[in-house]
Amino acid sequence: MNWQLLPQFAITGLLNGGPIALMALGIVLVFKSSEVFNFAHGQMLLIGAMAAWWFASPEGMGLPLWAAIIAALAVSVLLGLAIERLTLRPMTGQPLLSIILMTLALGQFLQGLTIFVFGTTQRNFPVIFSVTNPYRITLPLTYNDNPIVVVLRQNLVWSFVIAMICVIVLVLFFQYTRTGLAMRATAENHETAQSVGIRINHVFGISWAIAGVIAAISGILIATASGLDLSLSIVVLAAFPAVLLGGLESIPGAVLGGLIVGLAQGLVGLPNNSFFMGPAAAQAIRNSAEIVPYILLLIVLVIRPDGLFGQKRIERV
C-alpha cells in the first residue's frame, strides 16, 4: 500500500464523487416523485452538454458562455417536460418492466437523436477552469518525514463545489418551498397527494424539468473537465449503483452513495505493491474502477436490500 499517495487518491476520488452524486440525485428525484428509474439520464446529460456547446460555439450560436449555459438549461427543462408528457404519462399504471424498458428505449432514441443532430464528432468544450494550474495542498500530515502534498485539478475541485451547491439548493428547495412540499408529498403517496389537491402530473413534470437541469449541469461539468463526445452518456453508469447504494428514494442517500462510489473508485486505483497477490492481480485491481461500484452494490444488496440509507419502511396494518 502506498501511504504517501493514499490521501491524494482518497481526495481525488471523493471529489470525483461530486458529479456522480449530482447524477444520482437527478435519478432519485424522478424516481421519488414518479417511481420511474430514469435509465435515460445519461442521454439527458449528453444533450444538455451538447446544447451548451452548440449555443457557445462559433459553429453554433456563438453566445457568451454564461448565456449558452442558461440556454442549455432551458433546453434541458423543455426536454424533461417533453419526456414526461410524451413518453411516461401514457405509461401510467403499466408494469415495472414496461417502465424500465421505456426509459431504456428513450435512452437509445435520444442517443440516436443526438447523433442525428450533432453527428459523431467530438467537441472541444470551452475551458471554464484552468487546466494547467492545479491546486497544491500540503496536508498537515507526514509520511516517512515527507509532507503529504495533494495535487488537485481545478475543474475537479470546482465540479465538486458546484455539484454540492446544487445538492444544497435542491435540499433547501424541497424543505422550504410549497412546490418542494408538494413534491415530497407526491413522492410518498400519489393517491393521498391527489386527495389533498396536489396536481401530481404537474409535480411529475416539475421533477423531470429539475432532473433535466441537474443532468445538464452534470454534463457541462464533466465536459469541461475532459471534452465532449457521445461517451458522455455512459458516464452515468457509475451513478446507477450510487443511487441504489443510497437506497433509491433517499436524497441524502444518493449524495452519499455518489461520494462513496467516487471514493471507492479512487481508492482502488491506489498504487498497491503486489504484497498479497501477483503483479497481474494488483494491476487488475488498480483497473477495477469501472466495476467497483457494482461490486459494492452487490455486497450492499446482500447485506441491506434497501440500500445503505434507504428509508425505513413504516409499516402499519
Partner: protein, 374 residues
C-alpha cells in the same frame, strides 16, 4: 392457449389436447417451413442467409430471456454478459483444448448457466429495480473479468480468435463426400462451417432444439411453477412453489440459452472479446422480447426477427439519410439504429404493450370467427 380452434378439430384424448402441433396440415406446414429454412442457401442470396443466421442467434438468446422475464417475471439486463461467458467457454474448449464444437456447445451453455445462477442469487432478497441492478452488474463484472483474469488464456481485452466449427467424417473409398475436404493432419474428411451458408445449419439445428425445449417448459410442471412465480409470487409460495429454487432455475435456464447463443455467435464471428456483446445488446434482447410478446413462445421469434430487420433497415437507410443530411456523414447508421430501435420500442410500449404475438393471436381468433373458415 388458444381459445378458438378450427372447426373439425376435436379433442379425443388428453394427449391430443396437450399436443402442440395438432393436425396433419399443421405438420405439413411445419415441415415445409423447416425444409425452406434448411435449403435457404440454395436459393436465397448470401446476405439474406447471413441475416437469417443473425436472427436465429438472437432468437435463441431472447428465448432464454423469455423464460426468465416472460415466464418467471425476473427482469434481467445481463443476458449479453452470459452470452460472453458461453462464447469464451466454447472458444477456449474448441480453440485451446481442441474439443469438437458440438461437444463444446452444450458445455458452454452449462458453464454460462452456472454463472447465471450466481447472478441470480440476489433474486432471493431483492426485486424490481434492485434486481435489475444486480443483473446489470453482471454486465460490467463479467466483461471486466474476461479482460483481467488469465491474460495468457483469455488474452485480455484483445479477446481471442475462435476456430471455425468443423465436423469430421471418415474417408470412404479414398473420397470425401458431402462437401467435405480432406485434412491431412487428421486423416479425415472435414466439413467446415465457415460461411453463413454453412453455419446457418448449425444455427437452425440449435434453434429447433431450443424452441422444443421452450415449448416443453411452457406446458409442463416447471413452466407452470415459473409462471406462478411471475403472476403471483406470494400465492405461488402458499401453493407450494419454492420461490427461490424456481427463480434460480429460471436464471440458470436463461443463462444456458444465452451461453449457447454466445457460443454460436463467437464461432460465427470467429472472434470474441469483452465487447462483442454488451449492455446495448442486453437492452436490445429485452426490447425484442417486449416487441415480440412476453411469455409467449412465438414472441422471441417475432420480436428478434423484427428488431434485427429494423437494424438491417437502418443499415440500408443510412446512405440516403447521409446524403440528405451531410452533417451525418458516416454517423448515419449509428444514428439510425438506436433511433429506430428506441422509437419502435417506445411505440410498442405505448400502443401494443403485449407485443406482436398477442396481435397474432387476435388475428388468428378473428379469422376463425369468420363463417366457414377452416
Amino acid at each position: 392457449m388458444a381459445v378458438l380452434r378450427p372447426s373439425g378439430d376435436f379433442d379425443t384424448s388428453y394427449e391430443h389436447d396437450l399436443a402442440v402441433v395438432r393436425q396433419r396440415w399443421q405438420w405439413a406446414l411445419l415441415l415445409l417451413l423447416l425444409l425452406a429454412l434448411f435449403t435457404l442457401p440454395y436459393y436465397a442470396p448470401a446476405p439474406t442467409v447471413s441475416l437469417i443466421n443473425r436472427i436465429g442467434i438472437a432468437i435463441i438468446a431472447v428465448q432464454g430471456l423469455n423464460i426468465l422475464t416472460g415466464y418467471t417475471g425476473q427482469i434481467s439486463l445481463g443476458q449479453a454478459a452470459f452470452m460472453t461467458v458461453g462464447g469464451y467457454i466454447s472458444a477456449l474448449l474448441v480453440g485451446a483444448a481442441g474439443w469438437s464444437f458440438f461437444l463444446a456447445l452444450p458445455v458452454a451453455g452449462l458453464g454460462a448457466g452456472l454463472v447465471g445462477l450466481i447472478f441470480g442469487l440476489p433474486s432471493l432478497r431483492v426485486k424490481g429495480f434492485y434486481l435489475v441492478m444486480a443483473t446489470l452488474s453482471a454486465q460490467f463484472i463479467i466483461p471486466w473479468l474476461t479482460r483481467h483474469i488469465y491474460p495468457s488464456l483469455l488474452n485480455g481485452a484483445q479477446g481471442i480468435n475462435v476456430p471455425v466449427p468443423t465436423f469430421s467424417l471418415p474417408v470412404i473409398a479414398n473420397t470425401c463426400f458431402l462437401g467435405t475436404t480432406f485434412n491431412a493432419e487428421l486423416g479425415t474428411c472435414v466439413y467446415r462451417f465457415a460461411t453463413p451458408s454453412q453455419f446457418i445449419h448449425i444455427t437452425l439445428g440449435v434453434l429447433i432444439v431450443s424452441t422444443i425445449v421452450a415449448l416443453n417448459i411452457s406446458r409442463s410442471r416447471l413452466g407452470r411453477a415459473l409462471i406462478s412465480v411471475r403472476d403471483n409470487d406470494l400465492a405461488a409460495e402458499l401453493l407450494g412453489v419454492n420461490l427461490f429454487a424456481y427463480k434460480l432455475k429460471a436464471f440458470f435456464i436463461a443463462a444456458v440459452y444465452a451461453g449457447v447463443a454466445g457460443a454460436l455467435l463467437a464461432h460465427n464471428l470467429r472472434h470474441i472479446n469483452s465487447q462483442t456483446v454488451g449492455l446495448v445488446d442486453s437492452i436490445m434482447f429485452m426490447g425484442m422480447l417486449v416487441v415480440g410478446g412476453l411469455g409467449s413462445n412465438l414472441g422471441p421469434i417475432l420480436g428478434a426477427t423484427l428488431v434485427v430487420l429494423l437494424e438491417e433497415l437502418a443499415t440500408v437507410l443510412a446512405p440516403p439519410a447521409a446524403a440528405l443530411l451531410p452533417t451525418l456523414a458516416g454517423g448515419a447508421t449509428a444514428a439510425l439504429k438506436p433511433l429506430l430501435f428506441g422509437l419502435a420500442l417506445m411505440l410498442f410500449l405505448i400502443f401494443e404493450p403485449r407485443g406482436l404475438a398477442h396481435r397474432w393471436m387476435l388475428i388468428k381468433a378473428a379469422w376463425r370467427l369468420r363463417p366457414y373458415a377452416r
